[in-house]
Amino acid sequence: MSEEIKVSKNRLHGLWALTNRDLKKWYQNPIVFIIGIIQPVLWLALLGKAMNISSIFSSGSLPAMPQELAATFTAQQLQGLSAYFGGLQTQIMTATFNTPDYFSFMAMGMVAFVTVFTTAFVGISVVFDRRLGFMNKVLSTPVSRSVIILSKVVSASMRSVFQAAIVTIIAYLLGLQLGANFTPFSILGIFAIVFLIGFGLSSMFTAITLRTTRMETPQAIFNLVTLPLMFASSAYFPIDKMPDWLQAIANVNPISYTIDAVRRLMIFSDGYGPLVTDFAFVGIFALVVTAICIVLSWRYLNK
């Protein structure tokens, strides 16, 4: 019964088949797919618009000048003061957030942040594959152990890029203010940095859940990790205004670098300089974590 055929001996064979399997489970399931889109809409529309920080600094929120004080100024001086305070809003906002619009600041933070949500589900999918026996079947085929892990990581990274694109489109529709740095190529830059961080984060979540068969573990880890990742980063607030200890954490948080790259490409106006650091940091993070994850997979998938 053996007709001779050329069987692929490529070390990476099966990668696309397994990746595509994970992607299919996602895009063929309309509920998961739609919820995945609705979630960032809610974050942006509710939180993004509710935290209207720029209004705090508008001249409208200043108390009116007392009569006695106003009387000491000439009409010309008053006009000058009024112009000064009127312009303060933009100045404070730009000095703090590097853009006059807080919604744009936060929306671009969300682009990076949906990646955390998307990649965290990798852990659950690894546990599911173990529990349902699928992992055992794959292990008995000639697919390399690293490919099994990489397929999870690649599919999660691709989903992250898709989610990032959705968030960007929604943010634009809700009034994103593009900066002078923006060019059509910025979109490609966003995809690149999101793919990198997605790679690193999903490797991290996979590595953590490689050994477990319990559903509670990835969920608990997800809850434990997401909050610090989110708040010890520049997602909601600029790092240089944080207390020193928090700055120390935020400065090594790869999410901060991702967010900075996304903002620089889309809404900042002061040049591309730090982009190199951003990409280097996130790229090295992805490389190191993926390498660790692959080494662990040799150890733990070969029992």
Binding site: I5, A17, L18, R21, K24, F134, N136, K137, T141
Partner: protein
């Protein structure tokens, strides 16, 4: 294909979990080309552990084994390429269709799409799932899933197929159908099959040779007939009308090995009960005796099992608490 006499060769294979739980204890056996070899034993005896080591999913802690001449520890990739595996659980992806599942298996073996698409359709035909090929596996019945697993295990046209408890939890009809598929694979493709089971009927009906495994050790290996013959043959019990001793008369009849009298019942061991029984009736009638009761019992594997392990298979199964405790321990250790 170069013929290898011993398709599977196992020497001193051992697996110890967590430095204390000995699941498989220095087992030796070999499986010849084209035979159906069965591992029979109660739950927790070490069957799945053995199969997991042979399919290179689990690393042995001692001993060696080769599959088609390839060492399971040193040449695991070659082993995985040349074998097919039908695991105990349903491993197909429920969200994909039957067709997509088999195609996915083909991709995992690195079979080019030009070949695998054709092969997938052939296999779906073979396991009679063509009509359901575009339905999600979610909608499949237990028997259909089993057949799908079988098709997946055959996608790389393996020379050896490993089946772990192929009929676990199936109804009688589906079980019989599965047996037919297994027999067909041997008949049509000359495939070598290694299977584990804790059903005596299954081992008896399917296997050319059986190894009985208990507490991680192989207690006996042989063909079902050899094992049963080892018990001393068929047993005929009879009673007669007159109160005379007929022991000598019966002893002279063909195939009779032993005659015992307990109360009024004669217990006769015969190498061939079907031939002996009519001869006894005839001889007694010629002697003016009338047989009032007669029964013929063929030895079953259950008796074989009882003889070699000191407990009946059913008893072994009954201490469920023990079994399940051990299973949980093994499962934890395995993962």
């Amino acid at each position: 294909m170069s013929q290898i006499e011993d398709v599977i060769k196992v020497e001193g294979l051992t697996k110890v979990f967590n430095h204390s739980l000995v699941a498989v204890d220095h087992i030796n056996f070999s499986v010849k080309h084209g035979e159906i070899f069965g591992f029979l034993g109660p739950n927790g005896a070490g069957k799945t552990t053995t199969i997991s080591m042979l399919i290179t999913v689990l690393k042995p802690t001692g001993g060696t084994a080769t599959v088609l001449g390839n060492d399971i520890a040193k040449q695991s990739l070659e082993v995985r390429r040349s074998i097919g595996v039908v695991p105990q659980e349903y491993t197909a992806d429920e969200d994909l269709t039957g067709y997509e599942n088999i195609l996915l298996c083909a991709d995992l073996y690195g079979i080019p799409r030009s070949v695998s698409k054709k092969r997938t359709l052939e296999l779906l035909q073979l396991v009679e799932l063509t009509a359901f090929k575009d339905k999600r596996v979610q909608t499949y019945s237990g028997g259909m899933r089993r057949r799908l697993e079988l098709a997946c295990g055959l996608i790389n046209r393996p020379a050896v197929l490993f089946l772990d408890e192929p009929t676990l939890g199936l109804d009688v009809q589906t079980r019989a159908a599965t047996w037919n598929y297994v027999k067909m694979l041997k008949r049509e493709f000359g495939m070598t099959l290694f299977l584990t089971t804790h059903y005596l009927e299954e081992a008896d009906a399917l296997c050319d040779r059986i190894a009985i495994i208990d507490h991680g050790k192989i207690v006996v290996i042989g063909t079902p007939t050899e094992l049963k013959d080892g018990l001393g043959g068929d047993i005929i019990k009879l009673a007669i009308q007159k109160e005379v001793d007929i022991t000598d008369l019966i002893s002279k009849i063909e195939h009779v090995k032993e005659v015992k009298k307990e109360n009024d019942i004669y217990i006769i061991k015969s190498a061939n009960g079907e031939v002996t029984a009519p001869l006894i009736i005839e001889a007694l009638r010629a002697n003016g005796n009338v047989v009032t009761k007669l029964s013929l019992t063929k030895p079953t594997l259950d008796e074989v099992y009882l003889m070699y392990t000191g407990k009946s298979m059913r008893d072994a199964e009954e201490s469920r608490e023990n079994v399940s405790r051990q299973r949980v321990a093994m499962r934890r250790a395995r993962q």
